[in-house]
């Protein structure tokens, strides 16, 4: 077995990666085809087992498939893959029979496994569960099954970063190499100097995908030009925006792509040590990375004197301990050094003086995952995709009240409208679109008026939003803007590191104001009304002070949501403050509850559930709510089986 593995390794390194063999015999070709999964000898079953898949129940699906294979003594291979990006349809189960294309089934929880597998092994497809088949010209395709690539969700996407996510075995370096992996890295160390790589990336127009949008090539060049005996590369995988999960999907789906990007970047800035700073909560992603690093070491792709190029590289995983602010590069550096994750004064920028005082480049996962393709296909190719100032593609995590939640990778310049309505299938339950928030908790809102703007760093900034890490949170008319902003303020208040007083105390004050305007007044005395009116008079000035006097991106962008919503949704704020109403019915404390006398049967359920004894009435007679006592918790509404409790 061991010598077999060694043979495979040598075959892949010599014939595919280094391509030194003059003539490729048919044996090798077979092998490559196998790893590319163009030719399988036995039925192959793939299960989407990224975190989203596991939450949807993939663990039970895996067990069911294993049992199925064992019971029927079928020779089949079971492969766990990452996330294909279409999270709403998890758990996904794909089957590839020899000679046939790979077909994907959606929402296959454990009880559906037998039905689907029984059918496909008799060459029948259960139409209700079929999602589509993967295009492959060499294989016979299934009749009457759409191609995955033609589905609305995928047709408008252009996948560079997510290309093989959810398709290939994430634990196999062989499959990555067979799919042209590590080719760019070999090309880099063989034919280019560090400076040339910097220039290629500069020319490609790649900009940081973590939020700031700083030109990546320029950052590398600054670090390379700073004289030092040691330089560091840090990959920022501390993805902590609520609702953004593209970095995790890349790592769980195709970890070697990130390792390759890191290796090229490290070569380009002359770093011999690279850190991957990743959230410890991402336990599956950490496992995938550890496995990938181990394999890359075994294959001699990282280590000492890599393929006799004289280049050394060591990659270390550093696990973050859960602090949103550590996504900021200088805070992240402090955290790796074992200190509190508090941002530093800039300049000096990390590219000049970063980790342990040495020149350090901090790049986001998505940025680095773009690099191998740029080296492979050239700067001009990458430069031709996108808009004037923003090149390439961007991955968005589309979440919220959307029909298909998932990861969408589109060329820059695609309109927000297309992403929401054409790719992601519009608003869930055919509700009305209200707004979309781009860029995580500190990003801005885009309303119907601006929905046609293209995805572009500058265009987004113009309407008050930011690219951020690419979270796209869609809201419908059942979402209360004030409540969402209150949620974000609570988040920012908790995550403020405390270094700058305006951010630490200011966000707390802002949150307090939001508490006041969504709280049920115990009485309408002067004080509580006054507190509420502060909402309108002080929010704006507070926001401006925080923006102007905070050190890092967190404080500088935190009040964006407030300013932005005050501009577009002032009406809704005023309703909360003056009319004491929440039109979406989310701020339950502002609701008034009544009992419909005709519908009430007098079952006393509501009175029993009321925590403040605000409901009176005797058995079998209609009940009544004393408004002065009611705290608006909504328990009576949930308790009533007859629909007699009405919200106004």
């Amino acid at each position: 077995m061991q010598s077999n593995n060694k043979n495979k390794r040598e075959l892949l390194i010599n014939h595919v990666l280094l391509n030194t063999a003059k003539n490729i015999d048919s044996n090798i070709e077979e092998s490559i085809k196998f790893y590319k999964r163009e030719k399988v000898k036995e039925p192959t079953i793939y299960i989407g087992a990224g975190t989203c898949g596991l939450v949807a129940g993939a663990k039970d699906t895996i067990k069911a498939v294993e049992n199925y294979i064992a019971e029927r003594k079928i020779d089949a291979e079971l492969i766990l893959v990452g996330c294909l990006g279409i999270c709403s349809y998890e758990p996904l189960l794909d089957v590839q029979l020899p000679g046939k294309t790979r077909i994907s089934f959606k929402q296959i929880t454990s009880e559906k496994v037998n039905t689907v597998l029984d059918a496909i092994f008799s060459n029948i497809i259960v139409d209700d569960y079929a999602l589509g088949q993967f295009k492959n010209n060499e294989l016979e395709s299934w009749k009457n099954i759409p191609f995955i690539e033609d589905l609305d969700f995928f047709a408008m996407q252009e996948r560079i970063v997510l290309k093989n996510c959810g398709k290939i075995n994430r634990l196999s370096i062989n499959e990555y190499i067979a799919n042209d992996g590590y080719k760019s890295f070999i090309k880099t160390i063989r034919y280019y100097t560090s400076k040339e790589i910097c220039n290629i990336i500069k020319k490609s127009g790649l900009r940081g995908r973590g939020g700031g949008g700083f030109p990546t090539g320029k950052k590398w060049e600054i670090a390379y030009n700073t004289p030092s005996e040691q330089r560091y590369l840090i990959c920022n995988a501390d993805e902590s925006d609520p609702g953004a999960f593209m970095d995790r999907a890349i790592i769980e789906g195709n970890p070697h792509k990130l390792i390759e990007g890191i290796a090229i970047a490290a070569y380009s800035i002359g770093a011999t040590k690279a850190y991957i700073y990743i959230r410890t909560e991402y336990s599956l992603a950490v496992k995938c990375l550890e496995n990938a690093i181990e394999q890359a070491k075994e294959y001699g792709i990282i280590g000492h004197n890599i393929f006799e190029s004289g280049f050394n590289l060591d990659i270390v995983i550093s696990k973050g301990a859960g602090a949103f602010v550590c996504g900021e590069e200088t805070a992240l550096i402090n955290s790796i050094e074992g200190k509190r994750g508090i941002p530093r004064q800039k300049p000096p920028y990390p590219a000049v003086s970063g980790l342990f005082g040495k020149p350090t480049v901090v790049n986001n996962v998505e940025t680095l995952a773009n690099v191998p393709d740029i080296i492979d296909k050239g700067a001009n190719w990458y430069n031709s995709i996108g808009t004037k100032t923003s090149k390439g593609t961007k991955v968005f995590a589309v979440t919220g009240k959307i029909a298909i939640t998932g990861l969408v990778e589109v060329p820059m310049g695609t309109s927000v409208n297309d992403i929401i309505f054409k790719i992601s299938g519009g608003i869930r339950h055919n509700n009305k679109f209200k707004a979309v928030q781009i860029g995580g908790p500190t990003g801005g809102f885009i309303t119907k008026e601006d929905i046609d703007i293209p995805i572009d760093y500058e265009a987004l900034k113009e309407v008050g939003a930011i690219m951020g890490s690419g979270g796209m949170f869609v809201m419908d008319d059942e979402t209360c803007i004030v409540d969402v902003v209150k949620f974000f303020m609570n988040f920012v208040k908790n995550e403020s590191c405390g270094k700058c007083i305006p951010c630490r105390e200011g966000t707390k004050q802002m949150y307090q104001i939001f508490e006041n305007i969504t709280k049920k007044p115990s009485n309408e005395s002067q004080h509580s009304s006054l507190e509420r009116f502060k909402g309108i008079t002080e929010l704006e000035s507070l926001a401006k002070v925080i923006i102007e006097t905070s050190l890092c991106g967190l404080g500088q962008t935190a009040p964006n949501v407030v300013l932005n919503t005050l501009k577009y949704f002032r009406e809704e704020y005023e309703e909360h403050i003056f009319d004491r109403k929440c039109r979406a019915g989310v701020c339950t404390e502002l609701q008034t509850f009544f009992i419909d006398v005709d519908k009430c049967t007098g079952c006393t359920m509501c009175a029993k559930k009321c925590p403040v004894d605000a409901i009176i009435g005797s058995n079998n007679n209609p009940h009544f709510i004393i408004q002065d006592k009611c705290i608006g918790c909504g328990n009576c509404f949930d308790a009533c089986k007859f629909g007699a409790v009405i919200i106004k």
Binding site: T51, I336, T405, T479
Partner: protein
């Protein structure tokens, strides 16, 4: 116990500052929380005041200073979960178990913690108990889940 703490610390041969957080993480992984003894020992190892170690540990959300319950409930409060009703679920759990976010029940069976986002937004609202996920949970589901774990203890 203090012997075990020492053996964890001694695994990291050099006392470079960048080993501090990994050591704290490993101690927490082993014992489930950071005890006073642990923080004092780590301080000695790095030749840093205990207050400094405590300051660093409290900065990060991951570290807890009280033992977790036998069943650790994680409630996701990301944006998607929030708008799909995770707050109601939180109040319900708090009401049933009579503990607040970040606390452990007095019998040590349950503990409750909210997290910002576990990235399963398509299936919101999500909770997990000792790593087992429950998706699209509502108030009725919450009651069932807690009852299930309570029944295991009887």
């Amino acid at each position: 116990m203090s012997k075990n703490i020492d053996s964890i610390i001694n695994k990291f041969t050099n006392s470079n500052r960048d080993n501090l957080i990994p050591i704290l993480q490993e101690i927490q992984n082993t014992f489930g929380y950071l005890s006073e003894d642990a923080i004092i020992s780590v301080g000695k190892h790095f030749d840093l005041p205990t207050s400094k170690i405590y300051g660093i540990a409290t900065f990060y959300d991951q570290f807890v200073f009280k033992p977790k319950g036998k069943y650790h409930i994680l409630l996701c409060n990301g944006t998607s979960c929030h708008t799909s009703g995770s707050k109601k679920n939180l109040t319900e759990i708090e009401k049933i178990l009579k503990i607040k976010d970040g606390e452990t029940t007095s019998d040590g069976i349950f503990s409750l913690q909210t997290v910002d986002c576990i990235g399963a937004c398509a299936l919101a609202p999500v909770i997990s108990v000792n790593g087992k996920f429950y998706s699209k949970v509502d108030l009725i589901e919450i009651k069932k889940i807690i009852k299930f774990y309570q029944s295991l203890e009887k």
